[in-house]
């Protein structure tokens, strides 16, 4: 039997990998993928606690997180596409017109 801490550590490692990607990568689409990684790791934590506590509320919250992630991906990619049309680049260093 796998103890719950294994799942929690796995999810911590996944979250950290996603965080590293968000901090170091400069391609907007890769940053998206890393955000999805972080969302997935938190979902894994929810499901692990839901299973080990015998309460399905955690799984329902994961369901809502998936809905929000889908909405976020759609809007985010639309923004990236609009950005690409204007700037011909998805490098976030090129998006600095609000930088003072």
């Amino acid at each position: 039997m796998i103890p719950i801490s294994h799942y929690l550590i796995l999810s911590a490692v996944m979250f950290t990998i996603g965080c590293a990607g968000v901090l170091t990568r400069r391609n907007a689409i890769i940053i998206f993928m890393c955000i999805e990684l972080m969302l997935n790791s938190v979902n894994l934590t929810f499901v692990a606690f839901s299973a080990y506590l015998g309460d399905s509320a955690g799984q329902i919250i994961v369901f809502f997180v998936m809905a929000v992630a889908a909405a976020e991906a759609a809007v985010g990619l639309a923004i990236v596409l609009a950005l690409f049309r204007n700037k011909k680049s998805v490098d976030i260093n090129d998006v600095n017109i609000l930088k003072w």
Binding site: L8, I29, L37
Partner: protein
């Protein structure tokens, strides 16, 4: 080591390995395909945790929806002149420090805390009925709000993605 333990370590290795590829691969396409294996690994872990409905939803929503959307994004934002879609990394040292502190804190927390949970998973024969019932009773309001959120997001995404064409026509 029982079969389920072996499956856990297999899926964990698959998830972490492909997550590393997503984060550190220089090619955006490779990262997108590695993300596919990360999602599949997480879906496998959901199965091990007896969340059958969520495992299917994970594959349908993430692999069938979000990943395809991301691949479209990669394809549409590639310059035709660029044969290789590559992208580098920056700020390696500060990021390493932040990430190291984060991982250390999380692992220390998880390993030190005593979780007040059951030692073994209860036998569940399927979660779909319970999830459906609770979604339409206890969680009805969030459920409806999620529906509105998705509708608004779809309309907003369509608006943003085509807004530049409109201005071009006007000008």
């Amino acid at each position: 080591m029982s079969y389920t333990d072996a499956f856990f370590y297999f899926f964990a290795a698959l998830t972490v390995g492909s997550a590393l590829v997503v984060t550190f691969s220089r090619s955006v396409i490779y990262a997108a395909f590695a993300l596919l294996f990360t999602f599949l690994g997480v879906a496998g872990l959901y199965v091990l945790l007896q969340a059958d409905f969520l495992a299917v939803a994970q594959i349908m929503v993430y692999v069938g929806g979000i990943l395809i959307l991301l691949l479209f994004g990669v394809m549409l934002t590639t310059r035709v002149t660029n044969a290789e879609i590559t992208t580098g990394t920056v700020q390696g040292l500060p990021a390493t420090v932040v990430v190291g502190i984060l991982l250390g804190t999380l692992i220390l927390l998880v390993s030190r805390a005593t979780w007040n949970v059951q030692e073994s998973l209860p036998d569940v024969t399927g979660t779909t009925t319970e999830i459906g019932e609770r979604l339409l009773t206890t969680f009805l309001l969030p459920f409806e709000i999620a529906g509105i959120l998705l509708l608004v997001a779809i309309m907003g995404a369509a608006m943003i993605a085509r807004s530049t064409d409109k201005t071009k026509e006007a000008a």
